[in-house]
Amino acid sequence: MEALISLFIESVFINNILLALFLGMCTFLACSKNIFTAHKLGLAVIFVLSITVPTNWLINHFLLSPGALAWMGFPTVDLSFLHLVVFIATIAAMVQIVEMVMERYDPALHSSLGIFLPLIAVNCAILGTSLFMRERQYNFSESVVFGLGSGIGWYLAIVAMAAVLQKLRYADLPKGLDGFAINMITTGLIAMAFMAFAGIKLS
């Protein structure tokens, strides 16, 4: 249990998916102008991540990894080279299902998320988390915690960024520094603040 809590803290703060592993930057830079959109998008990412990572774990464990097809009678088959195509297909399908369910049962939330939901399918934070889960050989419960923690970490980062940018709008910046350049430097400073969490270990 302590190991799981430690993994959770690590994926939220220390190895923050956005600030330490640089995943999901494109959406992060495009959608951090308004704190409300950032909040909605962050929630959608938490939701999709905590579903897709365990799903991909199950697929990887029971279908793709070497010898995984033994239960079907093919103990020598190794499909691990397919993981990339399968992961991205799973993510696209999952996002599609989530969108359909949401449209049916909560149309208000669906229309307020708008274009962001389909955009999540090509967010590299989602695919990246699944790939890290596979590379670090997490077990099932670890993959659940890792997916959830990464999502929350991404949410925190984008909301913090949106809040800073909202204040920054009143600043008088030198020409050329405004826009992308100052966004990067601000992200650097936020990343530096998150580095203060490094070294926390519960187990």
Binding site: V122, G128, F180, G188
Partner: protein, 205 residues
Amino acid sequence: MKISKTAAYKTFTAPLVSANPIAVAVLGICSALAVTTQVLPSIVMMVAMTFVLASSNVVISLLRNYIPKNIRIIVELVVIASLVILADQLLKAFLYDVSKQLSVFVSLIVTNCIIMGRAEAFALGNGPWLSFWDGLGNGLGYGYILVVVSAFRELLGAGTLLGFQIVPDAAYAAGYVDMGLMVLAPGVFITIGLLVWLQNKWTGR
């Protein structure tokens, strides 16, 4: 006709400076940040990216009249993912150490917005020859930013370039200390921010 007047030359050089995918269009940042702690992985990443980008552009451009409009994203993703698997397997076979260092970031080329963006914006509307040059130009335009950033980070963060020591021992003896921040995450954000500022000043945007 002079070579600098041909359409292929123009498509090739535009993404290098004036339409640079990273600095100007802000695409494909994700992987640009993660692999740039050292120069060697950045060069490998540049080669892998250019290979995938040029060949995916050519394949999609050849298929452009046969792809139905409403499933084109899936078709493009399949083409790109197959090419990335190819690049990944080649790296694992011939450059195992570097491929371990790049870890998941080679696979993440699939979701790199530059590739999708070029396929959508260029390859779907142009012939294979021009698309090839467009892919090559964008790959190199992406790659040279990577190499410049990584050169800064490796030189300031570890005092080496491509693994060779650049900062002399005498400097260390005199009290020079490597800047550990450059190797860590915040260093790269700030380096890219300053580089883009420089480029904006230079191109007068």
